[in-house]
Amino acid sequence: MADPLPTASDTRQAKPESSLSAVDTRYLAQIRGAMARFGRRSEPGESEVDSALADLADAATIDVEAPSASNRRAGRAAKQGIKKLTRWYLRYIAQQTTVLGQAATRLGAALAERTDRLEDTTSGLSDELARLRDRVERLERREAETAEPPGPPPKPASPGAEVDRRA
């Protein structure tokens, strides 16, 4: 192994969450929100459509707080300045986009539900069709069993009759 390296020396003792500043508390809430979205696992039996709808619902809320981190102080200041100047405009656009996203989610959910209902109906009809086919076959079998035995074969038609039919 390589020479031992110094471990972090600038780590301060842990402090309670209640002592965090308002800005840090907001940031922590932002992290927790993101973790909740990531952590969602598919429920047993959840379809791809359900999963996609859940993702759409997550993405439907537009965040106007664009990241403003930068390695350079001037870059960070410029980003924060632009953010302040454009906040009213972005918020206006974001509100409409969020409403659009939510509407799309509702539409998707409604379509998925309708598709599910149609699939259920189709499945029910298939069962009904199978039952009816079975019944018809049974009836046909029964009819064949109870029918009188066939009589003697019909006489071959006379050549004259053939001629008559063609006439």
Binding site: M1, A8, E17, F38, R41, S68, N71
Partner: protein, 364 residues
């Protein structure tokens, strides 16, 4: 009699690939003929294994199937089990598909197939070995009759080779600027929960250590998940402090361990977790979520968390890094635990299980 191993994917520097190579050495050392067959074989290690369709198991032979993912080997083996080929299983766990359904539906389907194959094999497997007791419980629940825990064979001596000099130099230069180095090693996959690590790191960096860095080493098995992680990093304004390191060669991996201050694992599903063992061996203190086989591998030699809340994890790391004595104690205990999982110990245990079973079956 010969004992051959069948591996769905045989790759270089892969835990299961290395494990099967070690088993082959053990068997050959006992004078038993043994080869490795795979469905997919990494061209870099093509000389070590052959495609399973080239195999010709005959009556009286024993085959060990390494169960971890979907493979057409299973049905092929089940067909051959009937004419007198004895099938053993070495179970490395199958990731529940629910983790992948949202990100990679095709991968999730494949995991469901793997689970079905795993259950289908239960009645024909004479002995099933598991990497951990956690995995063994899975075997028993699936109806496997005879089971045993045989830890993954990992040659920890390999980890004491020289790290890649250039990577080490680069990482040391970064370190000289201050800030703690967080490390996690493992495929970028939803069950490994790299998002939780990024969240905890963001909280830690904001409150405790603005110069801290996080390196996530591992190839992406879920590309959509990786893209989402990159967006998360951006959204949380972490800039260049988070590095996604794919295609890291083994010496470079050693450099990452050499400069890490803490190994943070918030994975929810691990059948053994080799990277945790690597960290223990390389004296990097571990902070981990108490889930799956991780607590068993750690055996109390790391900080185990019952809560993955970003703040809770950030505080746990901050407290650990601030307390040199505690860190030393944990690192020393972890080193001892790594000895218990070292190759001489685990290979002897595995051999005992195998030879014991062979003797009972009248095959030795």
């Amino acid at each position: 009699m010969r004992i051959d191993q069948y591996v769905p994917g045989f790759a270089k520097h892969d835990a299961i690939g290395n494990h099967s190579l070690q088993i082959r050495s053990l068997l050959r050392g006992q004078g038993i003929e043994s080869d490795i067959y795979g469905e997919w074989i990494d061209p870099r290690v093509a000389s070590e294994a052959r495609h399973y369709r080239e195999a010709r198991p005959t009556r009286g032979d024993v085959v060990i199937y390494h169960s971890s993912t979907h493979s057409s080997i299973v049905d092929w083996l089940l067909d051959r089990a009937a004419p007198g080929v004895t099938v053993l299983s070495d179970y490395h766990n199958i990731t529940p598909s629910s983790y992948f359904r949202r990100w990679e539906p095709a991968a999730a389907d494949s995991m469901d197939l793997a689970r079905a194959e795993f259950e289908r094999m239960a009645p024909v497997v004479s002995l099933a070995m598991a990497d951990s007791q956690y995995n063994e419980k899975d075997l028993l629940a699936a109806g496997y009759g005879r089971t045993a825990t045989a830890h993954l064979l990992v040659d920890l001596e390999e980890y004491h080779r020289a790290p890649d000099a250039r990577t080490l130099e680069r990482l040391r230069r970064q370190k000289a600027r201050g800030g703690a180095d967080w490390l996690f090693v493992g495929r970028i996959a939803p069950n490994k929960c790299q998002h939780d690590i990024i969240g905890a790191f963001a909280a830690y960096r904001r409150v405790f250590d603005p110069a801290a860095r996080l390196t996530l080493v591992g190839g992406a098995t879920a590309v959509r998940y990786l893209r989402a992680l990159e967006q998360l990093t951006e959204r949380l304004e972490l800039g260049d402090s988070v590095t996604f390191a794919d295609n890291v060669a083994f010496p470079a991996l050693l450099a990452h361990f050499a400069t890490a201050d803490v190994f943070v694992c918030l994975s929810e599903h691990e059948g053994f977790c080799v990277p945790v063992l690597e960290a223990m061996e390389l004296e990097v203190p571990v902070v981990a979520f108490d889930a799956a086989a991780v607590p068993e591998t750690l055996a109390g030699t790391g900080v185990l968390l019952g809560d993955k809340d970003p703040w809770a994890v950030a505080v746990a790391v901050a407290e650990l890094l601030a307390d040199g004595d505690r860190r030393e104690r944990l690192v020393a205990a972890a080193r001892d635990r790594a000895r218990e999982l070292s190759l001489p110990v685990t290979s002897a245990a595995l051999l005992r299980i195998l030879t014991g079973w062979l003797a009972e079956a009248g095959l030795s």
